[in-house]
């Protein structure tokens, strides 16, 4: 596996590993293709809708760990509406790219954030524009992002 330096940095020193007690939202997604799992915790300011904190736990490959780390970094400080725009493409770009067979790993991060946002929205009875019910399992076809 040839990972970029950025990926290796986030893999070796993953930011935001851990758990948030009484989180505003939690999302867990699995990847049906490789069996890996990612969970994201969000702490959201109820007024400003700003993500004050974000933590993750990941059972997965190097790319999964690095994208989790990068994704949490990217959404922290953003509003939930901005966070929705943090796509797997954005995460990959921030990591200087991923090997082709690892593109699907980055989808895991995107989906986990969406799942956590959805959890938050459900708990609070609000609707976040553009957010649809996330899948808990990501299938191969959906990973065909170039």
């Amino acid at each position: 596996m040839k990972y970029s330096e950025k990926v290796m940095d986030h893999f070796n020193n993953p930011r935001n590993v851990g758990v948030i007690d009484q989180p505003s939202g939690v999302g867990t997604v699995g990847n049906a293709r490789c069996g890996d799992i990612m969970r994201i915790y969000l702490d959201i300011d109820p007024d400003t809708k700003v993500i004050r904190d974000c933590k993750f736990k990941t059972f997965g490959c190097g790319a999964a760990v690095a994208t989790s780390s990068m994704a949490t970094e990217l959404v922290k400080g953003k509003t939930i509406y901005e966070a929705l725009k943090v796509t797997n493409q954005a995460v990959m770009e921030a990591l200087d790219g991923l090997p082709p067979v690892k593109v699907h790993c980055s989808l895991l991060a995107e989906e986990a954030i969406h799942a956590a946002l959805w959890d938050y929205a459900e708990k609070n009875g609000i609707v976040i524009e553009g957010l649809s019910k996330p899948k808990t399992d990501i299938h191969e076809g959906e990973a065909a992002v170039s």
Partner: protein
């Protein structure tokens, strides 16, 4: 990181320095084509025939039964496709196991696409096939039994003598992929009733890109590679003289030192297994405790994933693997681990450590010490682990 611990000898081995020295004259001076008629070619021709005899000797076979190939994959393909073609009139059924190497698997799939039927025998939790199940799978149209000698991931050794006996009783040809076993455990094709056997030089400290297929006398195996009259007209292509000579040298050394090496490796292996079992929780040894290759250690660590583990080991200078090297591009969990009944996510967190006689006890300690830390670190990151 300064030190490097190579503990991935099932992927490939370090070329024996004596094998290299044996190859050198045939790389540099005696470069002739051994098929040529002039006396300059006799040196290389003779070297090839001595190599053939040396390898035959290690298997209790005749030199005329050893055919040189480009490696284990070619040998496996040749054996299976060759028998399929040879015995097509007799039948179209092949029996193999669920834990074969991809060189057997993919060849079986190829044959399935071309009118053959393949039974993939189940294995028990240790990876052993059941001889009774083998008997039950035999049909009138069964033409070949292909069961690997020892598994490349979990090191489990199959009941080869029993399989050989069953094959003989039913007059079915028996091929064994001995790529991981040859040079590591004693093999007598006579005693074990083996009709065809695949081996690959680089798995026993010989060079890469060369291997052989043992073909019992009397089996008119058709060619896989057609062309010139080399190898009794059965395998075309200018002979890779340096490769053949190097492989034979490594085979001879492996045979001579087998007991010594195997004792050393077994001791290190068991030490490694014991320390891991004692010091790392939720670690499951895969494969059989006793009926395993002297150099194979395979563990599954629950709640963690293989690639991350490997990267962190690598950062500590430890060269290890999670499955077979040739499928490392793939994301699928090992079919071997699934076949011995591991659930998907546990199969995912497996680590294969394969020793050579060059490893030391000190290295084992270094590995375990690092492993303890790494496993802990990854589990802390794992959503599956709630300690």
């Amino acid at each position: 990181m300064s030190r490097l611990i190579y503990i991935d000898n099932a992927a490939t081995t370090r070329l024996d320095p004596d094998a290299f020295e044996a190859m050198k004259p045939f790389l540099l001076e005696h470069y002739s084509n051994p098929a040529s008629v002039y006396s300059f070619a006799q040196e290389s021709n003779q070297a090839v025939e001595e190599a053939r005899a040396a390898i035959a000797g290690t298997l209790h076979a005749d030199p005329g039964e050893i055919y040189f190939t480009a490696g284990g994959s070619e040998s496996d393909n040749w054996a299976l496709k060759g028998v399929a073609q040879l015995k097509r009139k007799k039948g179209n059924h092949i029996i193999t196991s669920k834990i074969e190497h991809h060189a057997i698997f993919e060849t079986c799939h190829y044959l399935e696409r071309h009118g053959f039927e393949v039974t993939y025998l189940d294995v028990d939790e240790y990876g052993r096939i059941d001889p009774e199940a083998l008997k039950a799978a035999i049909r009138p149209e069964t033409i070949l039994i292909s069961i690997m000698f020892a598994n490349n991931e979990i090191g489990t050794i199959q009941p080869i003598a029993e399989i050989g006996k069953i094959a003989k009783e039913h007059q079915i040809l028996f091929h064994t992929d001995a790529v991981q076993a040859y040079g590591h455990v004693p093999i007598s094709v006579e005693e074990l009733g083996i009709d065809l056997l695949s081996a690959s030089g680089h798995k026993f400290h010989g060079p890469k890109g060369v291997g052989f297929l043992y073909i019992r006398k009397g089996i008119a195996l058709p060619s896989l590679i057609h062309g010139g009259a080399q190898e009794h007209g059965r395998r075309a292509g200018t002979l890779n003289v340096p490769g053949i000579v190097g492989m034979a040298k490594a085979a001879q050394i492996a045979a001579e030192k087998m007991e010594e090496r195997s004792q050393k490796e077994t001791k290190l292996r068991d030490y490694l297994i014991q320390r891991i079992q004692k010091e790392i929780p939720y670690a499951k040894l895969n494969g059989h405790e006793k009926l395993r290759l002297p150099n194979n250690v395979n563990f599954s660590f629950r709640f963690i994933e293989g690639e991350s583990l490997l990267i962190l080991l690598d950062q500590n200078g430890i060269c290890a693997s999670s499955g077979s090297a040739c499928t490392s591009g793939s994301l699928d969990p090992s079919h071997v681990l699934l076949a011995i009944g591991l659930p998907h996510e546990i199969a995912h967190g497996s680590l294969r450590l394969t020793l050579s006689h060059e490893n030391t006890k000190e290295e084992m300690d270094f590995i375990v010490d690092k492993l303890i830390k790494i496993v802990k670190q990854l589990r802390e990151m794992s959503p599956l682990f709630e300690d």
